[in-house]
Amino acid sequence: MIALASIRDLTVTYRRDGNEVAALKTINLDIGAGERLAIIGESGSGKSTLALAIAGLLPASSRIEGRLDWFLPSSPSSGAKAPPSVLPDISPPRGEITPSFRLSPITEIASKELPSKLPISPLAGEMSGRTEGGGTDRQPKFVPLGGRDIGFVFQDPSASLDPVMAVGKQIAEVAYTHLGLTWPQAYAKAKSLLERVRLPDPDSALRAFPHQLSGGQKQRVAIAAAIAAGPKLLIADEATSALDTIVQAEIVALIRRLVAEDGMTLLFISHDIALAAELAERIAVFRHGELLELGPTAQIVDAPTQAYTRTLLDAHIGLDATPLLNRAGLNA
Amino acid sequence: MSPLRRFLRKPEAVAGAILLAALVAMALSAPMLFPGDPQAIAGPALLPPFQDWSLPLGTDRLGRDVLAELFYGARTSLAVGLAAAAAALAIGSVVGTLAGFAGGLVDEVLMRITDAFQTVPGFLLALAFVSVVGPSLGIVVIAIALGTWTGPARVARAEVLSIRERDYVAGARVIGMHPLAIAFREVLPNALPPVLAMSSVIVAAAILTEAALSFLGLGDPNRATWGGMIAEGRAVLRTAPFLSIVPGIALVLTVLGVYLAGEGIVETTAVRRGLS
């Protein structure tokens, strides 16, 4: 497996009312380029914290230790329009492997390997990446940038979309910012994206506001915005949990198709192990901030090594589950 | 972190609290430090400050002790400011809660009454009320509250309109709770934080309004008030400016202290709500 990102000893601590709560404890995980990896866990498992940490979206008040190394093509897609059409062309000769950077927003932690002034979070990394990129360092440096290299789909599209901006503009803005397109080009791109996410009547949808769309349609728009810049990695954090079963199945099918077409890597965060098993090639099971078990989907589903994973599997109530109801009782 | 410690980390809030504490100390200690009537003659008229250490801030035109008047004035300012603000907040939140929760005709009637009060400038209303009923401490409190309860009422109503759609209000109805109990037990306590956030501004405004009324001679004539002292000093502004300046400074510091401390409290509690 060629790694897209490699997480080592990642620990994230939140401060809450004076107490420190560890949301993630020394996580080690490789994300393979082009794979569909599901992160499974219940509330408090740290699965969303992991998604935010990878996307560089953790709040500044959190403390982050450990490292996250990216293995991305070294040329940031400053002018490139076309999203990669085939599976990852990431076959990095040693020299092109991007340097690692310390994960940590704004706080302490000096790096062991790098001068302390190196990019400290993907967001900050974007700025220093642009300014230092050519000059100061001999090695080509590349730090992934949220929106361009990482697409993020949140659980609640009503909260992630701007309620007072037409959806066409919201998608075009991503393309305009990251692909170096002119505004008309970006707007045309937005329309083709709305077609790709199968929104009925993309022309009028461009001018629609989020409140005029249904929950499923809003999530399609959010996905269109997430993939607008042709990211290498798509993170879907409980992206279907607020939707009903039918719409959920449609969105899962959409994500599967887009990921395959664009050769994206998918990180699918979910509490639903059955849903994850339908979509992912590998499953990582999280509990209380720890990575309990990681393996191919078939192995996790059929031969889990952890009792907790078995509990999750047994707790699934499928259409073939033994009814809990004792029917004899009713008319007694 | 406890709200107290968060409060103590804000220097402006601490400064406000110190000013406020000094004011409260003045108000409480007045009868002990100056057991006599502050409006009694204590020495020669128009004695400048820092001349006679038994009368540190000098005397006014009638020979009254300025320092004693200042201390007793703090009592009046504080009492009227707090009482008027409390009355305004209480009336406002009850009216706003009833209007927002009941809706329909009740809402319509209550909000039109609110409109009517809001179209008349608050100070004019207070002025008219005191001139008709006559000046006394209680009347001044009511007069000031009359002009200020509308703001809290509107904020409370807006908050209640959003809270009444929440599941826990539906839950209270399902459990069979009486609508009035729902309004005042379930809805009002949760609607209060943004209303209370207005209290620092309202207390500060009430203190200023009281001073303005006293300045115009509509304060309680039997009490020392800072507004009254300024008005008294106005006649000799050229020869004895300290008579107006001293109570003026006291007024400014009080309003500043109330405002800074109030904002500090609101901010620290708001942070706590945001976290939970």
Binding site: E42, D244, L325, G329 | -
Partner: protein
């Protein structure tokens, strides 16, 4: 005799000048001790029906008969009194409780309002209710936001059974729970049904759960009944288009060694 009979229930909303029937001429009944599930996609009207049955909103047309009486004819004190028999558990137990309340206060409310226990006796009753739903009695003084989601939903169930209802509306009551907690809550609901003969109106979009817990199911689409019948029969072989779509969309866990 039926516990609840809903006939020709209709609720319309006006949206952008158009009138939409959220619930369109719906009729169904529930027998004592029975679980009837309402299932359907979002916007099918299942939550509106729950709120109509609970008189949280008023219908535009139709009848609701509960325990042999015209439930829609009740108002004021008579309605509040009758509410003791018809309770509800919400989806999100955090949103369903006053954020300032403690567990004890939440359970005290129904006992006080319906005069079930004298003041001195209430702490004992609250402890008994907590134990009935599998919680420790010393949870009573805790604030509602201090306890876990599963514990909160148990408190919600304790509050619902405090007035000894004959029918509880469960509006997506297990959808927001962690799967490991969900099974325990379903077991608790079934146990209560067996012991106290409580009927449930179980609203859910999850056909797997519906099939596991309900006697009968009503499948809804766009405010109308698409299909109804024995829960297992309907879900194992749906006849309506929406039934087929719901079944096809349910996630499947293909385990070779369950």
């Amino acid at each position: 005799m039926n516990l609840l009979t809903v006939s020709n229930l209709t609720k319309r909303y006006r949206r952008g000048g158009k009138t939409i029937a959220a619930v369109d001429d719906i009729s169904f009944h529930i027998e004592p001790g029975e679980t009837l599930a309402l299932a359907g996609p979002s916007g099918s009207g299942k939550s509106t029906i729950a709120r109509l049955v609970l008189r949280l909103i008023e219908p535009d047309a139709g009848h609701i008969e509960f325990e042999g009486n015209d439930f829609l004819a009740l108002s004021g004190a008579a309605l509040r009194q009758r509410r003791a028999r018809l309770q509800m558990v919400f989806q999100d137990p955090l949103a369903a409780f006053n954020p300032r309340s403690t567990v004890a206060r939440l359970l005290d409310d129904p006992l006080r309002i319906h005069g079930i226990a004298a003041r001195a006796e209430r702490p004992r009753r609250i402890a008994a209710l907590l134990e009935r739903v599998g919680l420790a009695a010393d949870l009573a003084p805790r604030a509602i936001h201090e306890i876990s989601g599963g514990q909160r939903q148990r408190v919600a169930i304790a509050r619902a059974i405090a007035t000894k209802p004959s029918l509880i509306v469960l509006d997506e009551a297990v959808s927001a729970l962690d799967v490991s907690v969900r099974g325990q809550i379903l077991e608790l609901l079934l146990d209560l049904q067996r012991q106290e003969r409580i009927a449930y109106l179980f609203i859910s979009h999850d056909l797997g759960v519906v099939r596991a817990i309900a006697h009968r199911v009503v499948l809804l689409e766009a405010g109308e009944i698409a299909e109804c019948g024995d829960a297992r029969t309907v879900i194992d072989a749906p006849q309506s288009a929406i039934g087929k779509a719901l079944v096809a969309a349910a996630p499947r866990l293909n385990r070779t060694r369950p």
